[in-house]
Each structure stands twice: as C-alpha cells, then as structure tokens.
Symmetry: C2
Subunit: 405 residues, 2 copies
C-alpha cells in the first residue's frame, strides 16, 4: 500500500479522492499496489465525508510521516501552497499539483528542488484541466521542435464568447448567464481579464521553449472590451472570436501573450465552444495537433491529478527527468511590436476610404459588412508595421482583431 496526502479539500481535492475511490482497482493495477489517502490537509472538518477521519490541520504531521510518499497539492493560490510544496519536496516526497499559479510563478525553483531531492514535481492538471497536454508535449512530441502553441485556455471566457456568438448577446449579459450557470465566479476578473489564461500560456511556453516568463510581464487583454460588433463581424467573415493564449519564437526570442482573436472556421480551434478548452500545437515534424476537452471541473481536473499520481507511483524505481526551465531574462523576451500575423480591422466609411485602407495595408481583402462599415484583412505583418499602415491610411479603426490562421 502506498500512502499519499491531499492538500486542500475543495473541488479538485475532493474530486481527486473520488477518482481514487471510484477507479480504485484500475489505479491499483497500474501502480502494482493500493494507493491510499492517509491525510487530507484543510482548515475545515468534513465529518460527513467517508475520508473525514483523515483530515488534519497541521502540515507538519504530513511532512514528518515517512509513510507518505506523495503529496497532491490542490489548495489554489500561491501561499501557503508554494511553501508547503517546497517543504514536501525537501522532505523527499513527490508532489503533483493542479495549481497553475504556483507553477507559473515558482516552477523553475520547484523543478530544481525536486531534481535536487530526486523526486518528481508534475502538474498535468495545471493547464487544460483534464485534457492531456503537458505529458504529450514532453513525450509524444519529444521528437519535435515546437513552433507555436495557441490555446483556448479558459472555459469561463469561452462560455461567454460562445453565448455572445450564438445569441447575439452583449458581454455583460453573457457574463450573467455564465454566473447563473456556475461557470463564472462572483468576481470574474481573473477569468475575463485574461490572467488565468496568462498563467497557463507561460507554463506551455516554458514546456515548449525552456524559459518560464513571469505572467505579469506578458501582454494580456481579456474579453471585457468584446462587443456584439466583434462577434457579428467574426460571424460575417466566417469564424468566431476566441480568447487565445499564444506563444511562439520570434527569431531567438520568446513571445507569449493573451488576447481575443478572430479565428476562421478553417482552424479547428474555432469550433471549440462552451466551457471546453482546446490547445493547438504546431510542431516541426508532426504539423498541427489539437487537444480538446474539459478544461476545468471537478472530475476532469482530478483525472489529470490522478494520472500524475499513477505516473509517479508506477515508476518509482526510476528517477524521472524533469524539464529544466530557466527564468526568462528580459532580453529573451520578444518585443510584442514584432509579433506578425494577419489582422482584421473594421472601419467606418465610404468606398473611397476602403480604397485608401487597401493601399495602406497592401491587401485586396476588403468587404463592406453593414451600416457603412467595411472590414479589411491585412497580410501577415508585424504589429508595428500594421500600426504604421493604419497611421498612413489616415483612418480610425472601429476595432481590430489579430487572426489565428
């Protein structure tokens, strides 16, 4: 029997206990012996829960117990999750986590600490909820150089954007529906302003390019500025507005950002709707692959946590190679002005204005959409060149969206 501890008995923590119980036999078959939850660390008591007698309030009990070989941290927030993770690794215990905040902020140090203590630190559940993405990037795509990753990484905002598209709703109304359905929190800032997606895209960027970027330093735009006009335009052009976390190399530097994009229907990510997440990886040998599924939720996220537990406990004989990340230095980060893509601009004006815009952006892709407004789709060009072209046109754009081709 192998003993583990669960830190934090909220949604994902209790889900993890449920997966371990529900699929007990299958998990035992993989690990070679039974996996048992010896402790649950939480401030609360859970007298009604079958595992209620495992609840402790003092982390020291877990750290001091040599029987506990693995700690599953699902507390959320940076502190004390970070400190507890450190101490568990220092005590020679493996750690798995769903906590993207801790991985995004302290991943470099915690991976280093795990390596030094010859234990593992795995975090499949920190990005994409239950969707397999972290392990596939490290194993199935090991033979590939990653060119870019673009993902719908936040289910709340995807639900809101889907509602806006399907029902022609405005942001505020769609947010209310999301809140009524339990898909958005009372304070939805971390979701709708893009911070949650930012934490996830820096983790994916680190897996792809080896440098972990502080999520507070990347360009992040949420969906609070998205209006019915954006979604109507996307519909007219044959696609959808999606909040995308994107990372790629620009020269020898790394670019990572979160912003709303226009995603044409030809890109499979445009069909990822409702609370689902989808992550599109472009690799130099494989080409494009999409990983789609439940990006949040109790059991899906717990399923990924337990996959990490099984991975560690079924390979205890061998020391795992953990990714060696470095903290990104300022000079390793690409200038957002150099980010190149196609862009859609919406302008107000007559055919004469449209002619001006076409010349300025060097494009023939221009169509009148409605109410005397016209949309121009630029060729692939750097942000700074697009801005220069806009200035040269002498026009004021009603709105602009980068295109995810």
């Amino acid at each position: 029997m192998m003993q583990i501890a669960i830190l934090g008995f909220g949604v994902v923590g209790s889900g993890t206990a449920e997966v371990l119980t529900e699929n007990k036999k299958r998990i035992e078959a993989h690990c070679g012996e039974e996996v048992s939850v010896k402790y649950i660390l939480d401030l609360r008591e859970f007298p009604e829960h079958p595992l209620g007698d495992r609840v402790v309030h003092d982390m020291e009990i877990i750290l001091r117990d040599p029987e506990v070989v693995l700690v599953a941290e699902m507390m959320g927030g940076s502190h004390p999750a970070y400190e507890f993770t450190r101490r568990a690794l220092e005590a020679g215990k493996h750690v798995v986590t769903s906590n993207k905040e801790v991985v995004a902020s302290f991943g470099v140090e915690l991976l280093e600490l795990a390596r030094a203590n010859r234990v593992s630190y795995l975090f499949e559940a920190s990005v994409g909820g239950g969707i397999p993405i972290i392990r596939p990037l490290q194993t199935d795509l090991a033979s590939n150089e990653i060119l870019s990753i673009s993902g719908i990484l936040n289910g709340t905002t995807n639900f809101i954007l889907t509602k806006m598209k399907q029902e022609g709703a405005e942001f505020a109304d769609a947010l209310k529906v999301a809140q009524a359905n339990g898909y958005a929190e009372a304070n939805p800032a971390a979701d709708v302003e893009g911070l949650d997606a930012a934490r996830k895209i820096v983790i994916l960027a680190a897996l792809a390019f080896g440098v972990l970027i502080d999520p507070k330093t990347i360009p992040v735009e949420g969906i609070t500025g998205i209006t019915g006009e954006h979604t109507a335009l996307a519909d007219k052009l044959g696609g959808a507005v999606k909040l995308i976390g994107h990372t790629e190399r620009i020269g020898d530097k790394v670019y990572a950002a979160v912003s709303p994009y226009f995603v044409p229907a030809s890109n499979p990510i445009s069909h990822v709707d409702d609370v689902f997440n989808g992550i599109l990886v472009d690799a130099n040998m494989l080409g494009r692959a999409l990983f789609y599924g439940a990006g949040a939720g109790k059991l899906p996220t717990a399923s990924a946590v337990v996959a990490d537990i099984i991975d560690i406990l079924s390979h205890r004989a061998e020391e795992r190679k953990l990714p060696a990340w470095k903290s990104a230095k300022k000079e390793e980060l690409a200038d957002p002005a150099d980010y190149a893509c196609r862009r859609v601009y919406l302008f107000e004006g007559c055919p004469k204005c449209a002619a001006k815009a076409k010349v300025a952006f060097g494009t023939e892709e221009c169509s009148f959409v409605c109410d005397g407004k016209f949309a121009v789709v630029t060729p692939v060009m750097r942000a700074k060149d697009a801005e220069a072209a806009l200035a040269a046109s002498g026009l004021d754009a009603v709105l602009m969206l980068p295109v995810l081709d």
Copy 2:
C-alpha cells in the same frame, strides 16, 4: 551512442531517418546519448541517400549485431514484418512500429513475446499517424475507465467525404480528386471499404478493454455506398457524414465496428475535415476528449515512431509494463443487433407516411427535407429494435445512418 535499425525504407521509414537527422540534438538531449541508424533493411538500394551505406538486404545481419538495441519496423503488410518483429524481440531488441496490420493481427502474441524477453513493443504510429493517442490512453487516461472511443481513423475517406460535402460531389468524382492529389491509392479498396479503419479501431478497443478482436470479424461498412443524398441530408440536419470507427462495451461484451455516421455539428468530430483524423475518447472521469491532427503522412507518422524510440531509449533502466491483451473470444463480442444509438432514416412519402413512421419509431423528430422525402431521427434504440420499428412502419427507407451524438 545507441544504434538502431530501420526495417523498410518507404515513406515512413525514410521519414523516420529524416526526423532523427533533423531533430538530432533534441532527441539526443532526451535520450542522454546520440541515436544512430546503423542499418536500413530494404530490398532496394538508395545510393543517393546520405544513409545509403547503411542499407542491408539480410535481416540476419541486424539480428546478429548486439550493438543494435532497437528495431523500427515500417515495412507495411503482415509478412515478413511479423516474422522479423518476432525474431527481433526474441533477440532481445526493442521494436517500435507503424504497422497497424501486424499490431491488429498479432498484437497479443507480440506483446507477450516482448514481455517474456524484457523488451518493449510500442506502436504509437499505428493509429492516427502522428496524433498522440496510444500513449495518452495508457498514461494520461490511466485513472479512467474508457466508456467509448469514436474516431475518424482514415484520412483518405475523410478527404473524399469532405469534398462530397463541400462541393456536392458524388463518391466516384471525389475519389478521383483524392487520387489526383495523392491522398488515395490507385486501388483504394482498403481505405474506402473501411478495412484500414477496422484495423485501427480494434487496436483502440484492445487498449480500452483489453481484448484484441480480429478485424475481419467486426461489422465494417465503407463509404462506397455514400451518395450526394446522404451528404445533402446531413447538411440539412446540421452536421456531416463521417466514416467512424467506434468501440464501446455493451453489458460485459465489447462492440467494435466501422460505418458511416451522421455526426451533428455539436460533436467536435464533425469539424474534422480533409485528410485529418480525429479521435474522441469518452472516459468516466475525464468526460470527452478529442485528439486531432495529421493521421498519415511521412513526417507526422515518423514523428510518432521517433517518440516511441525516445520513450524506450530514455527509459532503458526500467522494465516497461506493456499492456496485457487477450485474443477476444467469440462470446466476449457484443451482438451488433444490440448496439444502441439514435438513427436517421430518410423516407419517400406523404405526411401520412411520416405520421406512421413517427409512431413506429416513437419519435417527434421528423422533418420534410426535399422532393417529397422526409427524415426521421429515432430515439436511442438497439439496432434490432430499430429494424423492428422499421418493419412495423411498413415503409421502405431510402437510406439510414446511425447518429454519433
């Protein structure tokens, strides 16, 4: 330096050499040392190829060389690929393969043989080309019970069906376009009659349920009978016709089959177009996840072969747990008459006939589509119950498609 041998220097074999060369440094970093191709077994000579001097025509040379730790079999066809695989495993060499025919026919025996000789037999590239699916099923979904797998497993037929949908083409014309584009062979039988997909779905069924079914014994229907009427109907109902390999448990038995389905737009698999493959896994904790990407092609398939090579060579210290499959006994196979799903029937007739059909199938979902024809969508019902309802209606169906919800 670790030495490997490539068996078969066709599309995937030469692609594998290309991936090993192109991403050499990355692969070396994963494996801890250089991976070098010592031999290429082929009947032909490749004097112009940089590795042309590695070509041998006698398998004995490879078997007798103790330096060769791993053999990558990409010959295609059952023989002599099966015999060579046997002998390589018996000689204590790891084997990786892209050969679905060998895995589907001899997987039970070859996995057993690998276990007995304490080596690995991996086959990520045998299903879904470059798409990570086999390893995710075994690792990321290890904590889950698999409920069902439904996949677009053949790129050729998906290209043809996409053309039929987008251009209103008939099968014969779309096939010609596929052949002209190099997506279909001169003799397209194995693809269009569903045999290729059948081999892949039995491999996926074995991974999900532990029993390998002889692909020749499962119900297989290809797309040669699909007409413009099918695709027009699917379009009217808001979805697409797709060739689906499907497997699930029915009671304690296993069902696996290949047939055309109507896939509503709400199912993400309906948006998998052109030569792409998509595999939808429904698992008891994760829910639904879709794996999408290039299901064939030189470099994508080779990328999966090399992922297996890296997986083995970077974990040589530890003995791998290979899946323990059994050959499916007849009594373990579900009766196709018990397979339950919704179904779309197209009938010719008047509103009176439609009323009859609605009563017989116990459904209200009925719509007139065109030319005096009407479509009925049944509730979820077993195949035999649907047939009984059809007989009771006294109507002749113009066509029928199961629905993949």
